[in-house]
C-alpha cells in the first residue's frame, strides 16, 4: 500500500471513499452553478440543477478518469520517474483533456438532462446552433472545470507536501533516537554499571570518580543533540570521560593519549563529534585484541583547517576489503559534517601507516571562528 494518506485515498484500492470525496465537491460546484444560472437567466432552479448535475458530473468523471488514466499511462511508459503519489500527469496534458471533457460532457449531459426533465431548454442551443448562448455558457463551464481541477491539483500537492514534512520529521526523530542509542550503547552502559558496582565495595573513592565521569558523559550525550556547538576543550573533556570509563573496564589493556594544543582550546566543534570514532577504535580495534593497545586523539591546525585525528593500535581494518561504512556511528559523523560544513569537511578512515598498526580516522574541518 502507498505510504502517504493522500495517495492512499486517491489510489484505486479505495474507490468508494475516493469517489465519495470527489462527488461531494462536484455536487457542491453544480449546486452553485445552478443557483448562478437561475439568478442570471431566471429559469426554474430544479431544471437548472438537473442540467448542471448531468453536465458537471459527466465532465468531472471524464476529467478524473483522464487524470488517472494518463498518469498511469505515463508511469508505465516511464517507470523510473519519481512517484510523488499525486497522480498528476501535468498541465500540458490536462488542459487539452479538460477542453475535450467539457465538449463531450456538455453534449452528453445536455441530452440526458433534456430527456430527464422533458424540456427543450436553453441547452438545446448546442443542437440548435445557437452560437450566442453557447458563447456565454462555454467559457463559464470551462472556467469552472479548470478551477475545480486546479482545486484538486492544489489539494493533492498540499497533502503530498504535508506528508513529506511529516516523513522528514519522523526521520529526524528516528535519527536522534538512534544517535542517543548508539551513544548510550546498552552493552557499554551495563558493563560500566557492573564495574561501578564492584568498585563501590572495594574502592569507594574510585567508584565516586568513575560515577562523576559517567554523569558528565551522560549529561553531554543527552544534550549533544540539542546544542549546536561546544569548544574543543569541552569535546576533549568528554572524550577523556569516555576513555576513562573504558579504562576502568579494560584495565591495563587500554592506554590513551589526548593531545589538544592550548591555542586550539576555544575553537568550536559539533558536540561529541569524535566520540563515535573513539568508540569504534575501542570496540573494533582494541577490545578484540587480547593485549589491548593505545588510543590517541590529536587536534592540529593547518591554516584555516582544523585536523582532528583518532587512531588506535588495535587489530586494524579487515584486510583487503573496503571499510565498513554501514555502522551507524560513522554514517552519523559523516552526515553531521555534511550538514554543517558541506564539502569543506571530510572524514577519512584508513589503516595507520606506521609500524604500530591499527586504524587512523582523520577529520578535516574549516575554522570559521573569527576570534582566533
Amino acid at each position: 500500500m502507498a505510504k502517504s494518506p493522500t495517495s492512499a485515498a486517491q489510489s484505486l484500492e479505495l474507490p468508494l471513499s475516493f469517489i465519495w470525496r470527489e462527488l461531494r465537491i462536484g455536487v457542491l460546484v453544480c449546486l452553485g452553478v445552478a443557483a448562478f444560472l437561475t439568478l442570471l437567466f431566471g429559469d426554474r432552479f430544479w431544471i437548472n440543477l438537473v442540467y448542471s448535475l448531468c453536465i458537471g458530473l459527466t465532465i468531472q468523471a471524464l476529467i478524473e478518469t483522464g487524470r488517472h488514466g494518463f498518469d498511469a499511462w505515463l508511469r508505465r511508459r516511464n517507470p523510473g520517474a519519481v512517484n510523488d503519489g499525486r497522480r498528476w500527469p501535468g498541465w500540458q496534458i490536462m488542459v487539452p483533456w479538460i477542453l475535450v471533457s467539457v465538449a463531450l460532457g456538455y453534449t452528453f449531459g445536455s441530452i440526458v438532462a433534456a430527456g430527464l426533465t422533458g424540456t427543450s431548454h436553453l441547452h438545446d442551443s448546442l443542437l440548435a446552433n445557437n452560437w450566442r448562448a453557447l458563447a456565454v455558457i462555454m467559457p463559464i463551464v470551462i472556467a469552472i472545470s479548470l478551477g475545480t481541477t486546479y482545486f484538486f491539483y492544489a489539494r493533492g500537492r498540499l497533502a503530498v507536501t504535508e506528508a513529506q514534512v511529516q516523513a522528514a520529521r519522523r526521520a529526524a526523530a528516528e535519527n536522534q533516537l538512534k544517535l542517543l542509542e548508539s551513544q548510550l550503547e546498552p552493552h557499554m552502559l551495563f558493563n560500566t554499571l557492573a564495574n561501578l558496582r564492584v568498585l563501590i565495595g572495594t574502592d569507594p573513592p574510585r567508584a565516586q570518580a568513575m560515577l562523576d565521569r559517567l554523569i558528565a558523559f551522560l549529561r553531554a550525550t543527552l544534550s549533544a543533540s540539542r546544542t549546536g556547538r561546544h569548544t574543543l576543550a569541552a569535546e576533549f573533556d568528554r572524550l577523556a570521560d569516555y576513555v576513562a570509563l573504558m579504562g576502568v573496564r579494560m584495565g591495563p589493556r587500554l592506554a590513551s593519549r589526548l593531545d589538544l594544543p592550548e591555542a586550539l582550546r576555544d575553537l568550536t566543534v559539533p558536540p561529541l563529534l569524535l566520540q563515535p570514532l573513539v568508540e569504534n577504535c575501542i570496540k573494533h580495534g582494541l577490545e578484540p585484541k587480547v593485549e589491548g593497545g593505545l588510543i590517541e586523539v590529536r587536534a592540529r591546525r593547518d591554516g584555516a583547517v582544523l585536523e582532528l585525528t583518532v587512531r588506535d593500535t588495535g587489530v586494524g581494518l579487515p584486510d583487503g576489503r573496503p571499510i565498513q561504512e554501514t555502522g551507524f556511528g560513522l554514517v552519523q559523523v559523516r552526515e553531521r559534517l555534511a550538514t554543517l560544513y558541506g564539502r569543506e569537511a571530510s572524514l577519512v578512515i584508513a589503516a595507520a601507516s606506521d609500524e604500530r598498526g591499527g586504524t587512523l580516522a582523520t577529520v578535516h574541518l574549516p575554522i570559521d571562528d573569527p576570534t582566533t
Binding site: H187, N191, A194, L196, V248, R249, G251, P252, P288, K289
Partner: protein
C-alpha cells in the same frame, strides 16, 4: 564423600574489575569453591580449562580473541573423555538474543551487573547439578545441546550466496565453482578450499564464509570444517560420540565433533 575432589572453577572475563568482583562474590557465597584460574580472553580460557579440568566455568560472552560461546564450543570439541565436562555459566552485559535461546536449556546465564541473590540462585542450581551428577552423567551432552541452540541463535543472517570461490595466488586468481568444493577448513586467518584435485587458500575466516554458503548443501561438522553434504559417503560413530566421515573424491577422513554428530542419523 571424603574423597570428593575439591570443587574448582574457572572465570573468563576480560574486564579485570568484574573478574575480581565475581571472584569475591563467589568466595562469599560459595566458600568451598576454589577459583583455579582467572583469565581475560577466550583462547586462554580454553587452554586453562583443558589443563585444569575445573567443574564449573564462568564465561563472559564478549571477550577478545575467542568469544565465550566459541570458547565453550572449542571445549566441547576438545574435551577428553576421561573427565566430566564442566558446567558452563555464561555471563554477559547485554545479549538478548542469546537469553531467549538459552531459556530452554540453561545451566545458567548471568546478566551483568550480577546481584548477590541472583548469583546465589545460580550457585544453588550449580550445586544441584553437581550433586546430581552420577559419574557418567552427561554434562557434556547437556552443554552440547545448549551450545547448539546458542550457536543457532547467533548465526548471522543469510547473505548473498557465493557461486564461485576466488583464490588468489600471486597475480593469478583461481576461480573455483562452489559446487566443486568438497570441504572448507579453517586454518588460522585463512580458509583452505579443498576440491577433488586441488587445494586453495582464501583470505577469509570460516565465520565470514559460512553465511554465504547454502546450509542445505554445505554442513558445518566441526568448528573448523564445513563439508559439502553430497561428497560424504559414510559416517562412522565411535564410542566417545565423535563421528568420522569418509569422502567421495578425497582419501582423508574428516572428524565431525559431538556438537554436530546429530546431523548423522539413519533416516
Amino acid at each position: 564423600m571424603s574423597d570428593t575432589p575439591p570443587l574448582r572453577a574457572l572465570i573468563a572475563e576480560d574486564e579485570p574489575l568484574l573478574a575480581a568482583g565475581l571472584q569475591a562474590d563467589l568466595a562469599a557465597l560459595w566458600p568451598e569453591l576454589q577459583i583455579a584460574a582467572v583469565v581475560g580472553d577466550g583462547a586462554s580460557a580454553v587452554e586453562h580449562a583443558l589443563a585444569l579440568k575445573p567443574q564449573v566455568c564462568f564465561l563472559d560472552i564478549r571477550m577478545p580473541g575467542l568469544s565465550g560461546l566459541e570458547a565453550a564450543q572449542a571445549l566441547a570439541e576438545d574435551w577428553p573423555a576421561s573427565a566430566p565436562f564442566p558446567l558452563v555459566v555464561f555471563v554477559t552485559a547485554y545479549d538478548q538474543y542469546a537469553l531467549q535461546a538459552f531459556d530452554a536449556q540453561a545451566v545458567d546465564y548471568l546478566v551483568k551487573p550480577v546481584d548477590r541473590p541472583r548469583l546465589a540462585a545460580c550457585i544453588a542450581r550449580l550445586q544441584a547439578r553437581l550433586a546430581d551428577r552420577t559419574p557418567k552423567t552427561d554434562a557434556l551432552q547437556q552443554s552440547v545441546d545448549q551450545l547448539r541452540a546458542l550457536l543457532g541463535a547467533t548465526a548471522p543472517a543469510a547473505m548473498q550466496r557465493l557461486e564461485v570461490v576466488q583464490a588468489q595466488v600471486g597475480a593469478v586468481v583461481h576461480l573455483v565453482p562452489v559446487g566443486e568444493v568438497i570441504y572448507f577448513e579453517a586454518a588460522d586467518k585463512y580458509v583452505r578450499v579443498i576440491t577433488a584435485d586441488r587445494e586453495h587458500l582464501i583470505r577469509l575466516s570460516l565465520k565470514e564464509l559460512l553465511p554465504q554458503l547454502d546450509p542445505q548443501a554445505f554442513w558445518q561438522v566441526h568448528r573448523s570444517t564445513v563439508v559439502q553434504a553430497r561428497c560424504i559417503t559414510t559416517a562412522r560413530r565411535d564410542e566417545s560420540g565423535k563421528v568420522y566421515l569418509s569422502l567421495r573424491g578425497r582419501p582423508e577422513t574428516l572428524t565431525a565433533s559431538r556438537l554436530y554428530a546429530h546431523l548423522f542419523k539413519g533416516m
